[in-house]
């Protein structure tokens, strides 16, 4: 399909130019990196930009590093690059798990984490590690930078805290110093790529601290505060897990849509939380787990 809508394209060579363009075009300009969401949205008439600003020539936005307990992911770093980077997997297993569930290789080789969080769909897999690792979204405009905690980033379905003259330059995650691990479980309708029917991310450490986040189960991806409060400080046990599962109806607010009924989302969330907690514990104990296979259906 050719794109019926017409727009201009710029490929600035420095960040300043990007921000100047963004400042003058405001919401008529879109930052273009992977384009895997944006081009579809333009084709389908969901957005009608006047200008696309390609940021792929800017080396500073293509930075991926782990320094002093901070994992920094530049705006043009792709999912494939995240998956293929060993220190990402080591530092943040849940992010590695979640990235592997996003679309398929041919999309992941272009799609970026920054672009992904800008889409702010309720089913955003990558939101759960960002929520659990207390990420900060770095935004910039011609005035300066603004660091937005991920907990304040998602405002509503497809709506974020970014302003119309800002762009995301990168995302930082806090990697805890103590021994911890994490896992992301995603339920889809079949073995291939799918938007999540439900997603649960679980982080825990050896001191029995827990951070839990979910996606596709509420208007925005969220932390599960009630469940975390119940679990914190306690050793996992059958009873504790059952008690956590019992809190799910108070924690999530799923809807019925084309992918799943509300009832199935509620039911399966209990299964996912239970298996996710056990898998995280296994990982913490050094056992190999395969998150994709934990919910059944795949060889």
């Amino acid at each position: 399909m050719s794109i019926a809508h017409e727009f201009n394209y710029e490929r600035p060579q420095n960040l300043h130019s990007v921000l100047e363009l963004k400042d003058s075009y405001r919401n008529k300009a879109f930052i273009y990196a992977g384009g895997t969401d944006l081009v579809v949205n333009i084709k389908e008439g969901l957005v009608k930009p006047e200008l696309l600003i390609d940021i792929k020539d800017l080396a500073e936005l293509h930075k991926l590093c782990l320094d002093n307990g901070t994992l920094y992911i530049g705006a043009s770093v792709t999912f494939t690059e995240l998956i293929d980077t060993e220190f990402v997997k080591q530092a943040c297993p849940m992010l590695h798990d979640a990235c592997k569930t996003v679309a398929s290789t041919g999309v992941r080789s272009r799609a970026t984490l920054a672009g992904n969080i800008c889409s702010a769909v309720p089913s955003l897999d990558s939101a759960t590690p960002l929520l659990c690792y207390q990420a900060v979204v770095h935004c910039a405009n011609t005035e300066g930078v603004r660091n937005i905690p991920i907990s304040e980033w998602f405002l509503a379905p497809r709506k974020t805290a970014i302003k119309d003259n800002e762009m995301v330059t990168g995302i930082s995650l806090k990697i805890p110093k103590e021994t911890s691990t994490s896992v992301y479980l995603k339920l889809g309708r079949y073995g291939g790529e799918d938007l999540a029917q439900a997603g649960w991310g679980i982080w825990m450490n050896t001191a029995n601290q827990y951070r839990i986040a979910h996606c596709a189960l509420a208007p925005i991806p969220s932390r599960a505060a009630l469940i975390e409060a119940l679990l914190n400080g306690k050793e996992l046990s059958q009873e504790l897990i059952e008690a956590a599962v019992a809190l799910i109806p108070n924690e999530i607010n799923p809807i019925t849509d084309i992918r799943s009924s509300k009832e199935y989302r509620l039911h399966v969330s209990g299964v996912m939380l239970k298996r996710g907690l056990l898998a995280a514990k296994d990982r913490l104990e050094g056992k190999e787990i395969e998150p994709a296979k934990l919910l059944g259906g795949i060889a």
Partner: protein, 778 residues
């Protein structure tokens, strides 16, 4: 048994190099130069409405727009078996997505921008969105003038209702049969609509040149049928209509007959000198091409306690959509065959084709048999279990055998159904189950038989031309379509076997109706059988020309001459060896310097002259509507996660009686491909409509077709060969059949594993998990 050189061998496909090197040309790949125009459609947003006005004024202002057409430009009806469609909606729209107008522009972007500016004003009418609602008293009629629609004589519409066709089949004494029964099971099964999802969307280009001839390039399973319908609908002579069919990027029935191709064909007639192209987007592919029909099936089966089926009452109500010109024949075919591969003396079948305000139903791999077998083979398992008889034994006991009578009274063809059952039982290790891989899962085994006959008019025919080239290579000129099944390769093997020329020296091209001889359509899994017979006859014709020439020139007895290794040889004279390339074009030089013979050009034709659609309208007895049935059996081992409902096929086996597998590897390829397509229809595919008749999932994001991650761990393809007496080398078709058993065997495996009977497709993980949860709470 005779040892063949090429028949029955895993000959490598002759279209491989072309398709794998990127050389193969599909419809969208053809260049038409600067005079190509692009069409974009305006589609109905209403399921049922009167069109009050169409305002094209804003659209005409868009730069690059050439012309805009609406229904008033083309007041012609068309249809394959029943003429109930228009090229564009006339006064009314009958489904969301129906074409109302077309913008023709210099580039696709302009066409699209302009189409979005056309304003259609509707006066909504009540819409009927399912077949049971459409059958109710007082339901809105979709086609009040149904009585005036021309149709084939074997259709029985009921004017004044939404019933477009009602196939009744009656045999024996049904009441007596149920009286005789010790046990009767009655239940209802439902199947939703499905989409073909060929990866290539529909595309067609029409060109009406200044001399007044129409050429249409189209991605099609039916070039000759298209030519015929274009000529009829547009009032042109057949010689002035030419359909060129390049490679097809998947068919599955979706490119059979005529759907959107008539639009560029019709547009072209008003755009003399230009070529006009219409390529469907994926969304259009989902909302305005044929779909597989939805089904509500009410089954009542009576059995003796020994396990003999005494009576079957099978009522099938089809959601056939807004136009049924092709879909009604799905209904007809199943109405003749809804006993399944069983011998049953007392039968009543009602197969009812119902108009609804949803997209037109049509051919889809399996042609209604998948939908019918979901209910029947679920029911058979349940009946056997209720009786306490092993379901395999029950199937064996009632399996139809050669010489038994079918539902419409004709004799069943030779078949290897029992052998298929035995081989599947062995391959799947029926009766044993592997241990679950973890505590959350349970294992179930499921079984199903299947059968299907080609659904064709009694005079559907095939033909072939064959010409030799100087080097004894061959151009085999035929008009079936290689839609992926390997047709070209298998036809080359048939000619190769007769003429002793290797398939690699035979070129088969996609057809052009000007140059290639008649073929009805590439549908119904009949092409190996029907076109194969025509090719075989053409090859025999060529052989006879060759041998009689050699006999004439060399004075050798005809009965001593034969072909081997691309040469004519003589049984009585081992030294006689005349290479074909020495004479098949140039002729044979004699002593006086004259030449005898000349280019070898041959022909073959096949029509099943025994077939007849003249059954009694009230009973279907008396005709011979089906040429033969292909049968088989399949089973699978399914692992189910009880809590998430997610399912994994650990192992599946499918045995099919191919009569003779002309190319076993291609048969195995049909089995692996058809099996996955069938499993997808039961495990996750599903067309979902909202309460206004709008499709909610017109894309691959939410209409899921299987990926590489969704392949069963092990697929065991099994070929059984009980020859078809009138098939080429004994072959019959197998292409559609490989997806038929998937749905019922999954349903049967779910029950085996969890004790839950799911009677509606698809059987998604969600459905299984929620049913299991409910059963635990009881």
């Amino acid at each position: 048994m005779k040892e063949y050189t090429y028949i029955g061998k895993d000959v490598v496909r002759i279209d491989g190099l072309e398709k794998i090197s990127g050389a193969a040309i599909y419809g969208d790949d053809i260049d038409f130069g600067a005079n190509l125009l692009h069409a974009e459609l305006v589609s109905s947003t209403e399921a049922h409405a009167i069109i009050k006005s169409i305002d094209i004024s804003e659209a005409l202002k868009v730069k690059g727009v050439y012309k805009i057409f609406t229904g008033k430009d083309f007041p012609y009806k068309f249809g394959l078996y029943m003429k109930d469609r228009f090229i564009f909606a006339q006064d009314k729209v009958r489904f969301v997505g129906e074409q109302i107008a077309a913008v023709v522009a210099r580039n696709p972007g302009a066409a699209k921008r302009a189409a979005a500016l056309i304003k259609v004003e509707y006066e909504p009418l009540p819409a009927v969105l399912d077949q049971m609602q459409a059958l109710a008293d007082g339901a809105t009629l979709l086609h009040p003038d149904l009585e005036n629609y021309p149709h084939v004589p074997w259709f029985f519409p009921k004017p004044g209702t939404n019933i477009a066709h009602w196939r009744k089949t009656r045999k024996g004494d049904m009441k007596g049969g149920f009286n005789e029964a010790d046990f009767i099971l009655e239940d209802t099964y439902t199947v939703p609509r499905y989409a073909h999802c060929a990866i290539e969307t529909h595309v067609a280009i029409g060109k009406f040149d200044y001399s007044g001839r129409l050429t249409v390039w189209s991605s099609s399973q039916s070039p000759h049928t298209q030519r015929h319908l274009f000529a009829e609908a547009l009032g042109l002579g057949h010689k002035d209509v030419r359909v060129i069919a390049p490679h097809v990027g998947g068919g599955f029935g979706g490119k059979a007959g005529v759907t959107m191709e008539i639009i560029p064909a019709a547009l072209a007639t008003k755009l003399k000198g230009y070529a006009v192209k219409l390529r469907y987007s994926r969304e259009q592919e989902f909302i305005n091409t044929y779909q597989r029909l939805g089904v509500v099936a009410k089954l009542k089966m009576g059995v003796t306690k020994e396990g003999r089926i005494t009576a079957l009452d099978h009522k099938i109500y089809w959601d056939a959509g807004a136009y049924v010109e092709y879909g009604a024949n799905v209904v007809n075919a199943v109405g003749l065959s809804a006993i399944g591969p069983y011998r049953i003396d007392n039968i009543s079948i009602d197969s009812v084709c119902v108009y609804t305000n949803l997209p037109p139903g049509g051919a889809y791999r399996g042609f209604g048999y998948s939908e019918m077998l979901f209910g029947l083979e679920s029911h058979v398992t349940r009946v056997a279990n209720e009786l306490g008889i092993d379901q395999i034994e029950f199937r064996r006991k009632n399996a139809i055998k050669v010489g038994d009578t079918t539902a419409y009274g004709a004799k069943m063809n030779p078949n290897g159904l029992l052998e298929c059952i035995d081989k599947v039982v062995k391959a799947i290790d029926w009766g044993n189950k592997p241990a679950p891989t973890n505590p959350n899962t349970v294992i179930g085994n499921g079984f199903s038989l299947f059968w299907k006959a080609p659904a064709m008019p009694p005079n559907a025919s095939s033909s072939a031309f064959l010409k030799f080239n100087e080097d004894a290579s061959i151009n085999l000129i035929i008009s079936g379509m290689d839609i992926g099944q390997g047709y070209q390769t298998v036809m080359a093997q048939i000619a190769a076997e007769i003429l002793s020329v290797p398939p690699s020296k035979i070129r088969v091209e996609t057809p052009d109706t000007d140059r290639n001889p008649y073929e009805w359509q590439t549908v119904a899994s009949h092409i190996t059988w029907s076109s194969g017979n025509a090719v075989k006859k053409a090859a025999i014709d060529a052989r006879e020309q060759i041998l009689s020439l050699v006999q004439r020139v060399f004075n050798l007895p005809l009965e001593e001459l034969y072909l081997e290794d691309e040469a004519v040889k003589c049984t009585q004279d081992p030294s006689f060896n005349l290479p074909l390339k020495s004479f098949v074009v140039d002729g044979i030089m004699t002593k006086d310097g004259t030449f005898k013979g000349g280019p070898i050009n041959a022909r073959g034709m096949f029509m099943p002259e025994f077939s007849s659609a003249n059954g009694d309208p009230e009973t279907s007895q008396g005709g011979h509507p089906n040429v033969h049935y292909t049968v088989g059996a399949a089973a699978l081992t399914l692992e189910i996660d009880k809590d998430t409902g997610k399912m994994r096929v650990l192992k599946t086996a499918l045995a099919i009686d191919a009569g003779k597998a002309l190319n076993p590897d291609l048969v195995r390829g049909q089995i692996t491909g058809g099996m996955l397509q069938g499993l997808a229809t039961v495990l996750y595919e599903d067309m979902r409509y909202d309460s206004k008749g709008k499709l909610l999932n017109p894309n691959f994001t939410d209409y899921k077709i299987p990926t590489a991650m969704d392949v069963p761990d092990e697929i065991i393809p099994i070929i059984v060969e009980v020859p078809q007496p009138d098939g080429p080398f004994g072959a019959r078709g197998i292409g559609e059949h490989t997806m038929l058993p998937a749905a019922p065997m999954v349903a049967n495996a779910v029950e085996d594993a969890l004790g839950l009977r799911i009677k509606s497709m698809p059987i998604t993980a969600e459905k299984v998990a929620m049913a299991y949860l409910a059963s635990k709470k009881q």
